[in-house]
């Protein structure tokens, strides 16, 4: 058991849990939480505002609708079924194709139509929601991974987390599921976190189990040359989440679709602190800077993103080069 000196951490600008809770209490109104805790609400909200999300094919709210959802399934070859209020990626069924009346899961396993309806039934009865509360099932389009990310994530698609404070992106990282994390994207479970330069979307630093690393532990692909395409659009998408939710401190999880570009997967009103380890720097100074900035003037999404790219980037902004 060795401890870091709190003064040293203060110097680095680490944001601690107590202070984060203080920010959340101050900038996130309690009444707004349901907007992000319920993925269906988030999606509808984003769609209304014209923000890109994976397309919603259908919603199953009541048990009797399970019988009639066949139509929705018939119209699409691939789709994802997920609980609206699930947590930790549980209850998500990914169908990548079909052969006659049999669906094919991402792992190649075949499932029958009955299996799918039973899964939806389970979601409705609250099997996957926190505390077992009754839930609704969402059927949405399958995100097709950008080929540039091939081999970066073990099962599933890598996502990009952006911390947005008062509408300003302040830190971001890419999360890569690994064999060790069992396909999950949580850093403490063994996923790789890659800190991204806010100016360019290029990788800055990468950690697994809090240790720095240069190569992907499963595929051996280099992590230090990672560069996220459509970076400016992605930043704008993240920053816009402030307007649609009203949450002053939020974490936006964004995925990259090969055809549609960045899409909002989900939002989080209590984003974790591990992102600081992946970036090897603290959030506090950036938050303080933005707090002063947001107080001083109102800015559009575009202007906020430009401010963040210039203020928090470590390389010249990508937008300037384009």
């Amino acid at each position: 058991m060795r401890f870091a000196s709190p003064f040293r951490l203060r110097e680095i600008g680490l944001l601690g849990m107590n202070e984060r809770n203080f920010f959340i209490a101050r900038y996130n109104r309690r009444a707004l939480y349901p907007l992000v805790d319920d993925k269906l609400k988030t999606k509808l909200l984003a769609e209304q505002s014209g923000l890109a999300v994976p397309k919603l094919y259908g919603v199953v709210r009541e048990q009797h609708e399970v019988e009639t959802m066949g139509e929705v399934l018939d119209r699409h070859d691939s789709f994802v079924i997920k609980p609206s209020r699930g947590s930790g990626g549980k209850g998500i069924k990914v169908i990548v194709g079909r052969r006659d009346d049999v669906f094919i899961k991402s792992s190649g396993e075949e499932v029958t139509r009955l299996d799918v309806t039973r899964h939806v039934s389970n979601i409705l009865s609250g099997l996957y929601s926190l505390g077992g509360k009754p839930d609704v099932a969402m059927i949405e389009a399958l995100v097709e991974m950008d080929p540039r990310f091939d081999g970066l994530s073990y099962e599933g698609i890598p996502d990009i987390r952006i911390i947005v404070f008062m509408g300003y992106p302040v830190m971001s990282m890419m999360r890569l599921a690994t064999h060790a994390s069992d396909g999950k994207a949580n850093l403490h479970q063994g996923a790789v976190g890659v800190g991204l330069d806010l100016a360019t979307g290029n990788s800055l630093f990468a950690v697994q189990y809090n240790r720095p690393l240069k190569l992907h532990p499963d595929t051996g692909l280099p992590l230090n040359t990672l560069a996220i395409p459509h970076w400016h659009a992605l930043m704008c998408l993240g920053a816009s989440c402030f307007e649609i939710t009203g949450l002053g401190y939020l974490g936006a999880d964004i995925v990259m679709d090969r055809h549609r570009g960045p899409l909002i997967m989900e939002l989080n009103a209590r984003p974790g602190l591990s992102i600081q380890i992946a970036n090897n720097t603290g959030l506090s100074p950036r938050i303080r800077r933005v707090a002063a900035e947001a107080k001083a003037r109102e800015r559009s999404v575009e202007e906020r993103v430009r401010f963040s790219m210039e203020a928090f980037g470590s390389e010249p902004p990508l937008a300037a080069a384009v």
């Binding site: 058991m1 060795r2 401890f3 870091a4 000196s5 709190p6 040293r8 951490l9 203060r10 680095i12 680490l14 601690g16 849990m17 107590n18 202070e19 203080f22 947590s87 930790g88 549980k90 389970n122 009865s125 609250g126 099997l127 505390g131 077992g132 509360k133 630093f205 950690v207 809090n210 240790r211 720095p212 602190l273 600081q276 380890i277 090897n280 720097t281 603290g282």
Partner: protein
């Protein structure tokens, strides 16, 4: 920053009010800060004896009053065959009066009182006395008295030293010629005191006699001791003529002041009053409480002490809960320990108080462990939340009764205390732990379960501490201090201890 300042100010005010109330109770009302503190309580029995000559009898005895440092309570009068009244004199002093139409032979009357050390003092009202009457001396005594006063006057600097020198001249051998002549053969303390008073009157210093009792354990057939009070211009100053020192002896109760008779007996002869003294010890807290109740101290009058005993006992436990919340706040905010449920550890700690720590831990682990095992089997039935929870509650009750019966048959009576665990809390714990197990894995269950038990143990150790129990119950105003502490912890936005470890890579990876 402004909000923080507000918190500091509010916390400081709360702590100040709470602490000053507690200190007032300690210093002014005598509530002890530590448990098991005892104080000496004196029982004084005055015994009036006389020989009745067959006529009607009237006995009157001067009674003492509460005074500096002494609270007189629990008076009782043995009055078999006698009518009894307590008479308040015009000057505020009290007398006991026994009366009887007819009495024959030797009579014994008792007056018993208990003396508590009192912390509450009111300064007695004083009216300056007039100049003393000059004593009646024959010419020879008058001459030697003034000669003695002259000698002493030469030796003293002011009134105070004059009185001290005078008493010293009469009490300390070898006596001067004048002093020896004035006292004659009678060198008893009473006579010395009487002579001293006469001399003081001659010198024009207001004086009076004070008679009282030195409290010494196990003394019987004691007589009152004579002391002298001298007016120093502002107040009465007490002197002990035997030692010639200012101030009353320790543990001295003043029975009466001035030339008031101690005992009057009409219709009897050979009367005398003697005193027996006994010391016993009582808990300081009980004494302080009964004093405060007698004096109707507002802080005590409007407190949980005014509740019935049963409710008071309930509050003994309830007042411990804030200690538990303080521990939880400390562990979660300053240390960063994860617990399952915020206040579950407190309820577990309360149960530990009944079961004792080791048995409590053992029972808790047994019930939760067995409950978890059964809960996993219930999970296969795909029940909804309410059904699942109800099933778990039922299972827990079954487990508790099973454990109780088994332990009783085995003669392990300590295990019977398993019923003190709140079963709803146990059931919720089982439910939460099993969800946690499914969602985050057994490691997280161990972390949160262990964290909860650690916090519960820490809370238990504090709550079962006799000093803590004593302070929370006897000084409920300390709740304000606890509130202040919780406010301060609540606004702490610095790092948690666990974060210093979690974010160590941030320092190392640079």
């Amino acid at each position: 920053m402004k909000e923080k300042l507000k918190v500091y100010v509010v916390a400081a005010l709360l702590a100040l009010v709470g602490l000053s109330m507690a200190l007032y109770k300690h210093f002014a009302l005598g509530f002890p800060l530590f448990p098991n503190e005892k104080v000496a309580v004196w029982t004084v029995e005055s015994k009036v004896e006389f020989e009745s000559n067959g006529a009607e009898v009237l006995v009157s005895l001067a009674l003492p009053d509460s005074q500096q440092g002494i609270e007189i309570v629990n008076e009782n009068f043995t009055t078999s065959g006698y009518g009894f009244t307590e008479i308040e004199q015009p000057d505020g002093t009290r007398r006991a009066q026994w009366t009887r139409r007819e009495a024959e032979g030797r009579q014994v009357l008792y007056y018993r009182l208990q003396i508590y050390p009192a912390a509450l003092n009111q300064a007695p009202e004083v009216t300056p006395p007039g100049p003393p009457m000059p004593p009646e001396f024959d010419s020879a005594r008058a001459t030697s008295a003034s000669a003695l006063l002259d000698e002493i006057h030469a030796l003293s600097a002011d009134n105070e030293t004059f009185v001290a020198q005078l008493l010293r001249g009469l009490a300390v051998e070898p006596l001067t010629q004048n002093a020896a002549f004035l006292l004659g053969d009678d060198r008893s303390p009473q006579h010395v005191a009487e002579t001293a008073l006469q001399l003081l009157s001659l010198a024009g210093i207001p004086n009076r006699i004070v008679r009282g009792l030195a409290l010494e354990d196990g003394r019987r057939r004691q007589k009152l001791v004579d002391l002298i009070e001298v007016w120093d211009g502002e107040q009465w100053q007490i002197y002990d003529p035997r030692t010639a020192r200012a101030g009353a002896p320790r543990d001295f109760v003043i029975w009466r002041r001035g030339d008031v008779s101690l005992l009057d007996v009409e219709g009897g002869r050979e009367s005398q009053v003697t005193f027996a003294i006994l010391r016993s010890y009582r808990p300081a807290r009980d004494v302080a409480l009964s004093n405060a109740v007698d004096n109707r101290a507002t802080l005590v009058d409007f407190s949980i002490y005014s509740l019935p005993i049963e409710e008071q006992n309930a509050f003994k436990t309830i007042l411990l809960v804030p200690i538990g919340t303080l521990v939880v706040a400390l562990f979660r905010i300053l240390i960063g320990l994860r617990t399952s449920g915020t206040f579950m550890p407190i309820l577990i700690a309360l149960a530990f108080i009944q079961t004792t720590l080791l048995w409590g831990l053992l029972l808790f682990l047994t019930v939760v462990g067995a409950g978890l095992y059964i809960r996993f089997h219930l999970a296969r039935l795909n029940l909804l939340l309410i059904g699942r929870i109800s099933a778990v509650v039922t299972v827990v009750i079954g487990l508790m009764s099973g454990i109780s019966i088994l332990s009783y048959k085995l003669g392990l009576h300590q295990i019977l205390t398993v019923t003190f665990f709140p079963m709803i809390i146990l059931s919720w714990t089982i439910e939460r732990m099993s969800i946690l197990w499914e969602e985050e894995g057994p490691k997280e269950v161990a972390i949160q379960g262990g964290g909860s038990l650690l916090v519960a143990t820490a809370a238990y150790l504090l709550m079962s501490n006799s000093l803590v129990a004593h302070l929370t119950f006897n000084f409920p105003e300390l709740l304000l201090v606890q509130l202040a502490a919780i406010l301060l912890i609540g606004q702490y936005t610095g790092y948690r201890l666990t974060e210093l470890k979690r974010f160590r890579p941030l320092v190392e990876n640079r």
